[in-house]
Symmetry: C2
DNA sequence: ATGGGTGCAAATCCTTTGCATCTGC
DNA sequence: GCAGATGCAAAGGATTTGCACCCAT
């Protein structure tokens, strides 16, 4: 599957797979530039879109802009309301199957997935509060 | 509380309170223009930000751009993966208090709120599929 | 007269596009 | 030599900012 990717695309994918942060396109560009100094930002955008389209990565919207994530398994997110930090939740937040189906029914949605977002202050912002 | 708002701000808030759609800043601008033809887009942005900051409205990120919502009660959203439509879920999707707290604990977040997003095809996109 | 709010235009930021060039086959 | 991928620069769209002006106090 991945062997059809060219060297630039592979560098992008590898960078994403090697980080737990949720980089923006610009972050990816800056990181990949180190091994591919001649790559352009437009190419990074093109690669990110095609990787997302082929399902190898996920595009996360709504956390101060668009971010990319190589973890394509369904998972939940924690967002700091103070600094905007975005963390993966390392466990599935359990929800009632029933009310999920009920929500789909009342909205007319043919359910394919869901995500829970939890909001609050992250550890470092709580630290900062104390001082 | 709201009496401290000037007439432009009140027009924006009233428009938002009177719609179930989730308008973008541009939508708000175009709507409010009808009663306030001399208002500028920059002013609409300024008002939206200050209303959001004072908690009178909510700013929703991550649905093909930023949208505004006068419904400040905690609620969940349904998103169409085909057309991007965004709907409020008219009931609370139940989730396990325990796993919510567990998620907060493992991420170090001081929990203040949460949101469930359900994804799938909306009714009209399902219709469209049939033809 | 003073300060905040406003319109307008310019600036910024992020992303996409056009196009000529390069690359691998 | 060709098709697709790329870099670069320009274009686009959304949002923010600078600034002069206006209005209510």
């Amino acid at each position: 599957m991945e062997q059809i990717l060219n060297t630039n695309a592979r560098a992008v994918l590898e960078y994403l797979r090697g980080t737990y942060s949720h980089p923006t396109a610009m972050d990816v560009y800056e990181a990949v530039r180190q091994s591919k100094p001649r790559i352009g930002l437009a190419t990074v955008y093109r690669i990110l879109h095609s990787l997302a389209e082929s399902g190898l990565i996920r595009e996360l919207e709504g956390f101060e802009g668009v971010r990319y994530d190589a973890n394509t398994n369904r998972h939940d997110h924690a967002i700091c309301t103070a600094c905007g930090a975005l963390l993966d939740v390392p466990l599935d937040i359990a929800l009632s199957e029933e009310s999920l189906l009920e929500a789909a029914r009342t909205t007319g949605l043919k359910l394919s997935s869901h995500e829970v977002r939890i909001y609050g202050r992250c550890a470092s912002c709580q630290e900062r509060d104390k001082s």
